[in-house]
């Protein structure tokens, strides 16, 4: 029972630190790294969160696609590559076209279940076209693993993370800490299985 008390105390302290201090925000900024926006062969918007049953993109997915479209409008690359589940890609494509991105400038990848599969499929799509230098759009916490997988797949990656500072209220910080824990676990799993 004594060890349970220590588990409980540690859990309580971690909860207070996660919810009521900016530690999660600092980790978020650190994981984002430094953005490197510049001339590239393509803008790759990684999938995240999918779309709801009514076809509306989730908050995370929406942020990413807006970032990608903004980079396209800034003429940083001639191609916008949208990745994700079939519903997510469909909704992203409709949004991009609605905001003026021509269909001829959009490529899609929609059959991947995992980030590793996503990186493989993006490689099969873009590398034969000679599109090696990419602006990679992902959330700050997803950037390290996504970037590492894409670089391993043969791309030269310029990171273009979405907003880096993260949320400021306790509930959202707890959600961010949960997502960071998931991402670090996924990183460890990919290292163990040799994917990274």
């Amino acid at each position: 029972m004594r060890s349970l008390r220590w588990f409980g105390l540690i859990a309580f302290i971690l909860f207070v630190v996660a919810a009521f201090t900016p530690l999660a925000n600092l980790l978020n900024v650190r994981m984002a790294g430094i953005a490197d926006v510049g001339p590239s062969d393509a803008i790759v918007v990684m999938g995240r969160g999918g779309a709801d049953t009514d076809g509306v993109l989730t908050n995370r997915s929406l942020r990413r696609v807006f970032r990608g479209i903004s980079l396209y409008e800034g003429s940083h690359a001639p191609l916008l590559v949208l990745s994700g589940s079939a519903d997510e890609v469909r909704s992203r494509m409709a949004l991009a076209r609605g905001l003026g991105v021509p269909e001829t400038a959009i490529l899609t990848v929609s059959h991947a279940h995992t980030t590793r599969e996503e990186a493989e499929q993006l490689g099969k799509l873009l590398l034969p076209l000679g599109r090696r230098r990419i602006l990679l759009v992902a959330d700050p916490i997803d950037m390290p693993r996504s970037r590492a997988l894409m670089e391993r797949g043969g791309f030269v990656v310029r990171p273009a993370p979405t907003a880096a500072s993260g949320p400021s209220n306790p509930e959202s910080r707890l959600g961010l800490v949960r997502d960071i824990a998931i991402e670090l676990t996924a990183w460890a799993y990919y290292r163990l299985t040799g994917a990274l």
Partner: protein, 101 residues
């Protein structure tokens, strides 16, 4: 600012509960430490259940993927209900242990 507001509310209602308990229900102050320790034990048990539930979920997901060849998402485990139910499991087991002792 919202963090301070929330912590302030919790501190206030905790104080109210303390005075209500000691003056209204005649609770003894010396027992508060023991009660806090029991809560920490329960919390620790909840952590054990949470880790166990997640480990079981991951093992089952990867096992089913390997056996069936179908993709099953590990993100199904990414749900607040796992945390809530782990806490419930801990409460039940902790109460059971106390009664057994």
């Amino acid at each position: 600012m919202d963090s301070l507001f929330i912590l302030g509310i919790i501190a206030l209602t905790s104080l109210v509960a303390y005075f209500w308990g000691t003056r209204g229900f005649g609770l003894r102050r010396e027992r508060l430490t023991q009660a806090t320790i029991e809560v920490l034990e329960c919390l620790g048990l909840a952590v054990v259940f949470l880790v166990g539930n997640l480990a079981a979920g991951v093992a089952l997901t990867l096992g089913l993927r390997a056996l069936t060849g179908r993709f099953i998402s590990i993100y199904w485990l990414n749900d607040i209900s796992v945390l809530a139910l782990s806490l419930l499991q801990a409460l039940v087991l902790h109460s059971w242990l106390r009664r057994s002792n």
